[in-house]
Amino acid sequence: MWHGEIKNRAKNGTYYWVDTTIVPFINRNGKPYQYVAIRNDITSRKKYEESIIREKKFNADILSALPGIFYLFNEHGRFLRWNENFENVSGYSALEISKMSPTDFFRSSERDYIRSRIQRVLDDGESDAEADFLTKDGNGIPYYFTGKRVELDGEICVTGMGIDVTQRKAAVDALKDSEERYRMLFENNPYPMWVYDTQTLEFLDVNSAAIRKYGYREDEFLSMKITDIRPAEDIEILTRNVKNTTSALSHAGIWQHRLKNESIILAEISSHELTFDGRDARLVLAHDVTEREKAAEMVRESEDRLRTMFDIASVGIVQIDARDGRLILFNQKYCEITGYSSEELKGVDVFDITHGDDRENDREMFRRAERGDTPLYINEKRYVRKDGEIRWVRVNASFIRDGAGNALRTMAVVEDVTERKLAEKAIKELNETLEQRIRERTIELEAVNRELEAFSYSVSHDLRAPLRSIDGFSQAILEDCYGDLDETGRDHLERIRTASRRMGRLIDDLLKLARVTRSEVRRELVDLSKLAEDIVRAFREQEPDREVTVAIDTDLNEKCDERLVQIALENLIGNAWKFTSKRPEAAIRFGVVQNGHKKEYFVGDNGAGFDMAYADKLFGAFQRLHRADEFEGTGIGLATVQRIVRLHGGQIRAESEPDVGTTFYFSLS
């Protein structure tokens, strides 16, 4: 007998199920010879069954298709159902699982926690837990579990799902890391940074560098807009920029920012768009470039100055390619010196504009300096200008070399020294004629000297003669006509005689002065002490009645012209002798003092002295500080002394006080 369910196809094309029992009739041979089929239409039952099966398969499919593990266990911890994934993930077989309890899948340290979560499900209806799911081979996989209390066939059960959260956990960790990194980058960034709302322009976050740099507290910042740190004139363009910035990352350039203390800095701004707490925002990094810009400005100015100096320099400056001598760079002055325009000069070989006669030598000097034989190239040579004119130039060059020391370029300063060269030439010519001129001049001078001598001679001879006549004949009248003259007449004649004798002395002194002036100094070692003693002795012999104390330092030796110094000492000692004539105890002293590094001789007296207010007149010819009826004199003596001292390269000065005395100090070198 065969029993089965057969799917039949109806005439109208639909299917129907038939429960069929086929009973065979069997002969003696054991072979069926007839079949009886009992059929029962079971299509509706079959349909119900199919829906159950489909439902079951669907549930199983869902369970196995779940991304996580599914489980159902009763309140005693017996697993009733689980999905394939549970077996796959845990590594346990279905049989094994059926004998395990839920806590077996956790580390002992987490079992109490799991138990309490299960209890909560049983008490409250649902709960969840997060713990590592322990597999058969001992690994723990981070899982998130849900639990729901269900009643199944009268039993209290827990059903739920577990989801592998390894990825999520990593993502959360990553997010946490990234946030930390962001905070660190943001907060600890040495550059000021902030986040602002692109709609309201309000600050949403600022870092500590911004707080330090701008001077606002964090709470102040967070109550401000970005327009608050900008100068008023920038705000319009700022708002326009904010609207128009489309790219995610932008360099907004350099802007003026105002600090809390009102000072303005230059900030270079970079920004990046981001979402901050759900708001459209931009992250801004502000780099204070005030100093950098200032420095850059200074560099620009310095470059401008250099450029200007280069352009307006009063010397030619030129850069030459050391390899072929061609001009690379040159300034206006160089064009002026050479007479070519800058267009014409470009690429010109510098030796081509050098004078032909100077070219070989110049090239040789250039090569020597180029090789480093000479540290510098300095040469004076001639340029032939475009118009053919020849200019002398002084060229001072140094070389720019590569790492191997090969000369690449030459920087040269070219100075037009034509005027100087011409002057030098003139001086040279002048020098050549100078000796001739000196000879001629000497002859002229000698002639003048001879004339002067002749003049002196005439004076000495011819001026004295009339005086002798005046004096002589006055005397003759006094003698021959004495009786015919009254007292007044005789007095007048005496006055004539006195005057003529005085004039005679004047002439003598003048001649002496003239002779001194013409003198050459012939130095030899002279014993000044002895010289002075001799002079004093002569005065004593002339006026033996006078009592004068004279003190002369011994061993005063000096290299000087004896004849001239004698005249000087005669005058000085003579003055001392004369001006002490009214002292009952006259004293004269001759000695030497050290004044700095200079030796000063002195002749001092305790005579009449004079008022220092007139000291400047002391050494002028014919200058007298005393009346003739007080002390005789021509006023030429000290002029003569001064001439003598000066001829020796020395100096003379006087110190005096009326009625106390006078000291003359003089040096002889």
Binding site: S456, H461, R468, A476, R501, D508
Partner: protein, 146 residues
Amino acid sequence: MADKTILLVEDNPDDVTLTIRAFEKNNVANEVQVARDGVEALDFLFSRGSFEGAENPLPHLILLDLKLPRVNGLEVLREIRSNKRTRYIPVVVLTSSSEEEDLVRSYDLGANSYVQKPVDFNEFIEATRQLGLFWLVLNRTPPVDR
């Protein structure tokens, strides 16, 4: 002594007068012949020119000024000293010049004395007195063919 003659070579008539007066004051009574310049002096000494054939006796003392018209005193002195007859005659240079060069050249050329004429007439008288005393009284000269 009084027979000894003096030749005064002096172009300045004042000096001539004063010199003669000084001699007189000193009682020098010797004959004083005056030559008013160098040429006249030489003519007188060598009987030339205006003295041609005059056969003047040679003076015992010549007082010679240096600055003279035509031929100066130094040239006169040179002539005197280069001539055998006149070479021993005492020549006293009596001059206003105090120039050292004049002094040296005078002695170079054989002057016996060099006296600068003082402006002070009393000093001049004194100088003249000493001159007369020395050269005309005390001094002796080699014999001269007069």
